[in-house]
Amino acid sequence: MARVVIDVMLKPEILDPQGKAVEGALGRLGLAGVTSVRQGKSFALEIDGEVDDARLAQIHDLAGSLLSNPVIEDYVIREVTA
């Protein structure tokens, strides 16, 4: 069983009102000095069998089409565990 973790974040130039709301809440709860919060998504895939180059390429394709919208988001494959 392999595990692949993909993180998706809004591009820096896209306003993130959810992150702003969280930033405000953190301040109200006493955490000083927070200058920015960006909220993203994380996808953890459990996959039967091996993640070879072909499968990783397939995951990249889908990370850049289904899991993220390249107009507003960037993705990184953070973890590949065999």
């Binding site: 896209i14 306003l15 009102p17 959810q18 289904l66 899991l67 107009v71 507003i72």
Partner: protein, 225 residues
Amino acid sequence: MTMRIGVVTFPGSLDDRDAARAVRIAGGEAVALWHGDADLHGVDAVVLPGGFSYGDYLRCGAIARFAPVMGPLVDAANGGLPVLGICNGFQVLCESHLLPGALVRNDSLHFVCRDQRLRIESTTTPWTSEYTVGQEIVVPLKNGEGGYVASEAVLDELEGEGRVVARYLELNPNGSRRDIAGISNARGNVVGLMPHPEHAVEALTGPTTDGLGFFTSILKGLVEA
């Protein structure tokens, strides 16, 4: 011959019935298309209605984009078939890359539901030909993720090519860049609109009947074609 306008129902579509009703009130035949359909049943144009397809999971429209019916729809749209995406339908068109840009969470973070004044900016599309440039209309708007965003270059291109179809007046309800409420593709046959003209086609249920023009436009255009 009665023009046949397809209305796609995805799991979670809400406004497919109203869109079909608007087509009928305008004098056309509404054809129900199912998300799992492998073809478009020979319709003359398609409306992608509002709602919350696939629960808006992942991103609005992101999963609907891969529905079976979208394959033939994207091909047909690229070939010139008139397509109108309303609200969630606009989101699906952006996710499908039939229209540039994307729709993101309202800057207020609130779901907004109001009667919205718009200015029609382009009447060269088959969906807006019955309006006049600069005409002001009031139709319902209801969205949580209706903020239109695109790069400055894309926004300049849209403005330069006259592809901003409608703009918000009086109040920008969702943080859309340059008050954009609706846009078209370069050819003009594909239009995305965040407010809901299909809810403003009858005095009994709408704030106005200003929305009917989208449906009479397409029907008139198709008859003349």
